[in-house]
């Protein structure tokens, strides 16, 4: 015990004396929580529309005005034909083309139905898709308005009334569908993974490079104590980083966990233990700091992209889903979102937390076993 305590003290002294690492631990969370949520925003604004109005009627003018009134759209140009409008897409001057056919007004009056064509620029897939969806919504709104107007006109003849269905969407847990709120728990996850994954990964291998590990290996120190003394400081650092992130989220975005904050700490701690175990495993198998940093970056990239942090797991191909379910980060980001947005209780997150814990036990046992005092 005395040895363990002293070894932990030694690790802390070394960390505290490395100005760069200290700066990283303190500044990194602030930077991440402060800057990235603004930069990574899937909300698409200022969509430039090229309009080809071949109908030139009252209804088509109303539709165009309605689009222009929306905060998402800006009428880029009104052009005589599709070919000219398409040039705008080719030169990336416009995001979407709205083509109103010559028969638009006539059909609306005669047959009560007509169609328009939307052509979105999908080079940036997300922007194209969202532009298309938003514009469709506007067009649908427009069509319901028309129907409502007709209903009013038909009110005199009740037998002939047309049924009108109003769809009113509500986004639960994130009412304004703010992408930021969805991503902030993910940024906490990114933060903890980077700090508690990379720092342990370059620690033991650093001792290999310095040669200090040889001196430790000829001492009677048990490898269990040695590894534990390496891990505990990163657990504590992880909790400090998490606290900074929580304070930043609260002070900058006014966002507090809807669930119990102790549960946030609990699941974060379990995750920190797991990911720092992975770091030590990587460190044990590497010969140089360079190898270790490449290897850990490789793993971190995989666990980031196959975790449902950016894209839902359910929309991944089957093989990717299997990897995602073998990824502790998948569970962590899920639990943290539940705690931050839904306000889940312990019973709701117990299973996922348990799975992260199992990962933690496996990785840490592996870390102790793979550390060899002899070659």
């Amino acid at each position: 015990m005395k040895t363990l305590k002293f070894l932990i003290e030694k690790e802390f002294k070394q960390i505290l004396r490395s100005k760069m690492v200290m700066g990283l631990i303190l500044l990194f969370p602030v930077m991440t929580m402060w800057i990235f949520p603004w930069a990574i925003d899937y909300e698409v604004k200022d969509i430039r529309v090229n309009v080809v109005d071949q109908s030139q009627g009252t209804y088509s003018q109303r539709l165009i005005q309605k689009i222009d009134a929306s905060k998402y759209f800006r009428i880029n140009a009104t052009l005589p034909d599709y070919t000219t409008a398409y040039r705008g897409i080719e030169t990336a001057d416009c995001d979407i083309i709205l083509q109103i056919p010559p028969a638009f007004d006539r059909d609306l009056i005669k047959t009560r139905s007509s169609s328009v064509m939307l052509s979105a620029n999908a080079v940036d897939g997300t922007r194209g898709m969202l532009a298309n969806n938003y514009l469709m919504q506007v067009v649908n709104d427009f069509s319901s308005e028309l129907r409502a107007g007709q209903v009013a006109a038909l009110a005199l003849f009740p037998q002939a009334s047309l049924p009108v269905i109003h769809i009113q969407s509500r986004y639960k847990f994130n009412e304004r569908l703010e992408y930021k709120y969805y991503m902030i728990p993910a940024f906490m996850v990114i933060l903890l993974t980077l700090i508690c994954g990379i720092l342990p990964a370059i620690n033991i291998v650093g001792e290999k490079e310095q040669g200090t590990i040889q001196q430790i290996n000829v001492t009677p120190v048990q490898k269990f104590s040695f590894i534990l003394a390496k891990l505990i400081p990163y657990w504590i650092i992880g909790i400090i980083v998490e606290t900074i992130a929580i304070i930043c989220t609260w002070s900058i975005y006014g966002m507090v966990p809807q669930g119990n904050i102790l549960l946030v700490y609990l699941v974060s701690f379990v995750y920190i233990v797991s990911i720092s175990g992975l770091g030590i495993v990587v460190s044990n198998y590497s010969e140089t700091t360079q190898q270790a940093s490449f290897l850990i970056m490789f793993f971190i990239l995989i666990i980031y992209l196959l975790s449902g942090m950016f894209t839902p797991v359910s929309s991944m191909p089957y093989w990717a889903q299997i990897i995602a379910y073998c990824n502790p980060l998948t569970y962590f980001v899920q639990v943290l979102r539940l705690l931050y947005l839904n306000g889940s209780r312990f019973a709701d997150i117990a299973q996922s937390t348990g799975i992260i814990l199992i990962f933690g036990i496996i990785l840490n046992l592996w870390a102790v076993i793979s550390y060899k005092k002899r070659t």
């Binding site: 002293f6 030694k10 070394q14 040669g211 200090t212 000829v218 001492t219 009677p220 070659t375």
Partner: protein
């Protein structure tokens, strides 16, 4: 206990036929030696001869392929945990924590061996006092000589029976080197057996016994005097004014066995039938003037170089 009974000194380290190779590179091709109690035993040889591999095996950090090594009867492979308490190991490269201070390093190594600085202070006192003025300085900022002293303190603080010092004086200035050897003699007086390796031949004479190692084999094990007296050839030292091409000319002379440059002079080992006058005439005819030739007694280095020719 048995020391008084035995007529020969007690054996502390017993190495028998150790083999170790890394892939196709043979590091140790069967070395055997024994080191006595309270003896300074030197392993002398060039870089890449296998010195570090031998030390790492004895320090229980590396497993040999075959052969055995016992330390005071304890096997370095089977009982490595006991071995680690018995030895003080100083690797060739400075391996203390550079970001910890002198004091913290010493405290660390005392703690991990479950002892305290106070308990064994008498062992390191003479050495530690020299670096004590810098005890709050980080180890990385010490000079080469002071680093070695600190490393020696850290290797001694748990009162080992055996010191394994792998090239402790490499890269250390001549004054610090001399001081270091003085310290080793003091430690020997305290009953500690010391196995030390070096690539400096002049340090060989400071050991009680030496083993010359090359390409993973011992070329000879004896006292420095014994090694020197086993040198049977006559040896000459040669000074000449014009040095260009001299080495080549000397080597091509029929009765010369070998010739090596030693600073400003050349050491020439000759075979039977060598005549000083003929040799001087030969060199004059080659255009070398101011030739000064005198017989000298050999050093360990001469012996070593002679042995390498046979290999």
């Amino acid at each position: 206990m048995g020391k008084s009974v035995l007529t020969s000194p007690a054996i502390m380290i017993d190495v028998r036929d150790l083999h170790k190779s890394y892939g196709h590179t043979v590091a140790l091709a069967g070395v055997s030696c024994s080191v006595n109690d309270a003896e300074i035993f030197g392993i002398i040889g060039p870089d890449g001869a296998g010195k570090t591999s031998l030390f790492r095996i004895l320090a229980s950090l590396l497993l040999p392929e075959s052969g055995s090594a016992l330390m005071n009867g304890v096997d370095v492979v089977k009982d490595y945990e006991k071995i680690r308490r018995m030895i003080g190991y100083m690797p060739g490269k400075f391996s203390l924590y550079q970001d910890l201070t002198v004091e913290e390093n010493l405290y660390l190594f005392a703690t991990v061996f479950n002892t305290t600085i106070e308990e064994n202070y008498h062992l390191v006192k003479d050495i530690y006092q020299q670096i004590e003025p810098f005890k709050t300085r980080r180890a990385g900022r010490l000079s080469g000589g002071m680093k070695q002293k600190l490393a020696l303190c850290c290797a001694l603080i748990h009162k080992p029976e055996v010191l394994l010092l792998d090239e402790p004086t490499t890269g250390v200035d001549p004054v610090s080197r001399k001081e270091f050897w003085d310290m080793l003699r003091q430690l020997k007086k305290q009953g500690i057996s010391i196995l030390v390796s070096t690539a400096y031949m002049d340090e060989a004479s400071l050991c009680d016994r030496i083993a010359l190692i090359q390409k993973g084999r011992f070329l000879g094990i004896d006292t420095p005097q014994g090694i020197i007296s086993s040198y049977r050839r006559s040896l000459w030292s040669l000074h000449a004014g014009n040095v260009r091409g001299l080495l080549k000319s000397i080597r091509s002379y029929p009765h010369v066995r070998s010739c090596f440059a030693f600073g400003e002079s050349h050491h020439v080992a000759v075979e039977e039938g060598f005549s000083e006058r003929d040799f001087q005439q030969y060199l004059s005819s080659k255009g070398y003037g101011q030739i000064h030739l005198e017989p000298i007694s050999p050093t360990v280095e001469d012996f070593f170089l002679d042995m390498t020719i046979d290999n």
